[in-house]
């Protein structure tokens, strides 16, 4: 009897140590997150002022502001979301509302999963081969947006699919029972109730697009521009590409590295803000459902 007591005590103290170790590991992960965010802000926040955000770059990207990068990133985000959202939402509607579970769904899902796993630089090569060269759009906002749209398509399809599936079947039955067609039901009943979930997916897509670099290196981005692009066939500056170019290929590091850090602060703030919105939306959404 006593033996088992001691044994039990041992087992419990072992559990205590293991749990402590696991807890420390999780703290380490959170610490890493904190230190990366801290590092960017600590290095870059002093560069940020109104002029830095709203002025054109000067003297070969050694002085002035980063306004064209901010605008460029904005254009790429808008462009890619415009392409990817209808595509992704309609795909998800087919998967949840029309297809019967079976071969088609499985095939489509395999396609989505594999597309999500394609390395970002491969998307860049695809964009170069199709949009820049084959369709002749050149290195441009259009080519970059189309390439980025494919990058975030899986994110939007998955989020929309999840949101559509969360809509209770009673809604559909009620609408169909009143004589609505399948499409009318989707348009007027299912889509509106799935909207917050779909929106969350789109917002996460925005965050991803804003930070992607490899897909735009050969399809959209340029290092230095003294004016804003005036057509979708123009090259653009973009925040992530500019950070990369400034720290790796800058010719005047002492002046350019601070600009890179400043750009990093802007990009990271943007991405953190976007993720925060998505998190809050999801919290609200899941509370509404309960």
């Amino acid at each position: 009897m006593r033996d088992t007591d001691i044994n039990l005590e041992k087992r419990h103290s072992k559990q205590k140590y293991v749990f402590a170790l696991l807890g420390i590991t999780l703290l380490l992960v959170l610490f890493i997150l904190g230190i990366i965010i801290y590092f960017v802000f600590a290095r870059g926040i002093s560069v940020i002022n109104w002029e830095f955000l709203t002025a054109m770059p000067k003297n070969g990207m050694t002085e002035g502001g980063i306004f064209p990068s901010i605008v460029g990133t904005f254009y790429l985000v808008i462009g890619s979301i415009l392409f990817a959202t209808p595509l992704g939402v309609f795909a998800a509607i087919y998967m949840t509302e029309y297809a019967n579970e079976g071969k088609i769904i499985t095939t489509i899902r395999i396609g989505v999963n594999n597309l999500a796993g394609v390395p970002s630089v491969v998307f860049g090569l695809f964009g170069l081969g199709i949009f820049v060269k084959f369709l002749g759009f050149g290195v441009s906002i259009l080519s970059g947006s189309l390439t980025l749209a494919i990058v975030i398509l899986p994110t939007i399809i998955r989020a929309s699919e999840e949101a559509l599936m969360a809509v209770p079947d009673e809604y559909r039955h009620a609408s169909l029972a009143m004589g609505a067609t399948n499409w009318q039901t989707i348009k007027n009943v299912v889509l509106p109730s799935a909207m917050p979930g779909i929106l969350t997916g789109v917002i996460l897509g925005i965050g991803r697009v804003a930070g992607e670099t490899a897909p735009i290196i050969f399809t959209a981005a340029t290092y230095f521009q003294m004016r804003l692009p005036d057509s979708v066939f123009d090259e653009v500056m973009a925040l992530p590409y500019n950070i990369y170019a400034l720290v790796t290929a800058g010719t005047f590091p002492s002046k350019q590295i601070p600009i890179a850090y400043g750009s990093a602060v802007v990009l990271l703030s943007l991405v953190l803000l976007i993720n925060l919105i998505a998190i809050l939306l999801r919290l609200k959404f899941s509370r509404n459902q309960e």
Partner: protein, 294 residues
């Protein structure tokens, strides 16, 4: 128009959209092979993959990608050595030990880690981790395979943590109850019942994390050091496949041998990540079957 007809048309339009992922995937394969296949004919598949010299701009040029392929595998394995234990430990803590209140904060924080752009990780690796490792090990440069491994490990963490956590929490409660009722402690229940049951789900998480690491471009481009020689140590600069494509595509004239060779690298990379995805998919299906209780 007759509503039946209209419904049918809508259905087919939606089907077309639904097939978009597959269409794009096929498009990627076609573009990669159309641009990259000629290099395999010129150099030979085996010489391309196992050639030890990558001198695309020399005369005569050499297109052997073994140094780049090895570098990719090296940093991927290195990243997993870090990310798998840390990620798994975190996911166990989140799913079984962390109070629910804290969970609502910790899970989004992990997702945030996934949301940070790769170029920011690259910047951190270049300016903080690299110099730090350089000092510790007394190296000529801090941009090495180790630096890249650590950064990739951090980047793979969110994938591994969230997917493992999903796998662990999707195990029916009766497994845990049975073990606890038999007198097992919570840790014994986790290590002897939950983890073995969740194993194929965890495998999915790890493989998808590996796929993320091997395909990651900007971070390795910025922190791996860029030396295209056969990797001999974790403490030396290396150049993974993704970094090579991103760094050299700008200089390679369209349609040149060098250009084709870079697409050739992309073909190899694509095949590797596709294989990872298929394995992950199979493991995930096996797991779902197991959990749903065959």
């Amino acid at each position: 128009m007759d509503w039946r007809k209209k419904e049918k048309i809508i259905k087919y339009i939606l089907l077309f959209f639904a097939l978009s992922s597959i269409i794009f995937l096929t498009g990627i394969v076609i573009v990669l092979f159309r641009e990259g296949l000629p290099i395999f004919e010129k150099v030979g598949v085996l010489d391309f993959i196992f050639g030890q010299e990558w001198y695309p701009t020399y005369d005569p040029p050499a297109y052997g990608i073994l140094p780049l392929l090895s570098a990719s595998l090296l940093v991927t394995i290195g990243s997993m050595v870090l990310a798998v234990p840390i990620g798994l430990a975190s996911s166990i803590y989140i799913s079984y030990i962390l109070p629910k209140r804290l969970k609502t904060f910790v899970k989004p924080a992990i997702e945030l880690l996934a949301g940070i752009p790769s170029v920011i990780y690259g910047l951190f690796g270049m300016k903080i981790l690299g110099p730090f490792l350089k000092d510790i090990f007394g190296l000529p440069t801090g941009l090495t395979a180790l630096t890249a491994s650590i950064m990739l490990g951090i980047m793979a963490l969110p994938t591994i943590v969230s997917l493992s956590e999903d796998a662990i929490t999707s195990i029916p409660k009766r497994y845990r109850d049975a073990s606890l009722a038999l007198g097992g402690t919570r840790w014994e229940t986790i290590s002897k019942v939950i983890l073995p049951t969740a194993s194929s789900g965890i495998v999915t998480a790890v493989i998808l994390g590996m796929g993320r690491a091997i395909g990651e471009t900007m971070t390795v481009l910025m922190v791996a050091g860029g030396a295209a020689a056969m990797p001999s140590s974790f403490l030396k600069p290396v150049r993974p496949m993704t970094a090579t494509i991103a760094a050299e595509m700008g200089e390679a004239p369209v349609g040149s041998e060098h250009y084709q060779a870079l697409f050739g690298i992309a073909i190899i990379l694509f095949i590797i990540t596709l294989t990872f995805n298929v394995i992950a998919d199979l493991a995930s299906r096996r797991f779902k079957k197991k959990v749903s209780g065959q």
